[in-house]
Structures are given as C-alpha cells and as structure tokens.
Symmetry: C2
C-alpha cells in the first residue's frame, strides 16, 4: 500500500490526548525515531522517518527510515539483512517522536558493526573535552566492510 | 563552569571510533537527546540539547535541554521539581544523538502529567489512520495544571 496520509494536527488537546496519529514533521519532513531492543530494552539507534517511511513501517511491521545523508527512503536491513521487526510502536505527547520496540535480526543495528550505535560513554562531572569511554561489551559484532562494503549503510 | 567547547569533528573514522566528544549539531545547533529510566529502561522522553545544555548536563550530572518551542535553555524540573539525575550518558556512532539514563524525580517526565511521553501505541499492520491506543498503565501521575500552571512546561 502506498498511502501515507496522516491526520491533520488539531488543537494541543487533540494532539496530546486524542486518538488520531497526527505527526509533527519538521521543516525537512521528518520525525525522530528511537529504536530499542524489545527483549533487552537496550537503545539500538536513533534515526529519522519521513511520512512514507512511517507509513511503511506501520503497514509492514518492519522498520523503514529516511536517510538524511543519502536523501532517500531506506528499509533497515535492505543491504545487510539486519532487518528490524517492529513489535510495538508508540508516539510521544506532541507527536514529533516515534518509539519502536524491535526484534533486531543479525548481529547488530549499527553500521560500524556493533549491536547498538551507543557504544561510547561520556564521562560525567567533567569538562566536555574528557575522553569518551568505549563500552567493553560493545566490541564489533560483525565486520561492516564485509556486510556493507562501500554500499549503503543499512 | 560556563565552557561548552567540544572537539572539532575529524574524519569519519575519528568521529566513529575516536575518544573525543565532537557532537554534530544540526542547522539549529541541536542534537537529539533520548532519556530512559535507569531503573526500568522505559523511554521517558526525547528532547534536544544545544552545546550549552549538553555541557551543563555533562558538568552537573543533571539534565538540561534546549526548548525549541520556547527558544531557551531549560533545566529539566526547574519549575516542576521533576529533575533528572543522569547516571550515564552515551553518544552514538556519528555523534548526533545522546542517550542519558536518568533517575527521574517526582511522578513523571511528561508535561501532560504522565510518567513517560510515550503513552499511546500506534497499531501495526493497519493504515496510518487507525486509532491510537492509550496505555492503560499511563494514567496521569500528576495534575499538570497544578504543577506547571500556565508557565514553562519543564
């Protein structure tokens, strides 16, 4: 199905308390999407969806995104096979952010070869120039060059 | 401390594998920040940080954001008392998103009076005009009018 028409945005009350999905796309036509691992709760990645990606995700139950760098629609896993099956989707109060709880196929979500994109910690109580700390559990789970080559990072 | 100078962004390899925090602020000078409950893993909110908010969060260990609607820096809880103590901060591969695991003070993070901003589910396998489903566990935990009045929604 190719329809991706959402409800018109009504009053603040309607947007926040209503039952109509009326996403607030930004100037580039995007909403933020947060993907967490449905089993572990781990934050896997933060990406963006345009109206078409959001509609395709809803209809197919698989995660579609819009790549800002490549300026194109992108089915997660289309080149890597690391698809995301969406078990639950939620929308936030003002409807400019989407949360999907996914079953991540393959070894990882991150194009660097890791399970999660969030593999470095920022030390707290320091100045912002303190060194990041690599998560020792976040060793590369796959070889990104072998999986993606020089092609699309999905 | 008022410094909020971050590292220059280097090569892709440096940004993705390096130990320097070199955030990729967007055209509005913002990065996306995802806040999860450190105890339960629940996604509480998605917001934005400018360089100052990010630096203040790192230095203070309390969440600061930049409100896009109010165009100003905002310490989470400054009017509600619902502050967020940051137990861990992470940055993603291309450094345009921040993840904070927080201890949420008070009954909730959402200005609508709920624990989390993500209190409505989007039905999957349907068209995007299907009705949202309210999370029955997400009843209002506090009265937003009593806490915030007509003032800042923090």
């Amino acid at each position: 199905m190719d329809t991706y028409t959402f409800s018109e945005r009504g009053s603040v009350e309607e947007v926040e308390e209503g039952r109509a999905l009326a996403p607030k796309f930004d100037a580039d036509g995007l909403v933020t999407c947060v993907a967490t691992d449905a089993a572990t709760g781990e934050l896997l990645m933060v990406a963006h969806m345009n109206a078409e990606a959001l509609a395709k995700t809803i209809e197919s139950g698989e995660a579609w995104y819009f790549s800002r760098s490549r300026r194109r629609l992108w089915r997660k896993g289309e080149s890597s096979g690391h698809v995301q099956r969406v078990l639950e989707m939620r929308v936030d109060c003002d409807q400019d952010a989407i949360w999907i709880r996914v079953e991540q196929a393959g070894p990882g979500a991150c194009h660097t070869g890791r399970r999660s994109c969030f593999y470095r910690a920022v030390p707290l109580g320091k100045t912002p120039d303190a060194s990041l700390v690599m998560d020792l559990r976040a060793e590369k789970a796959f070889d990104p060059q072998a999986v993606y080559g020089d092609a699309a990072k999905s």
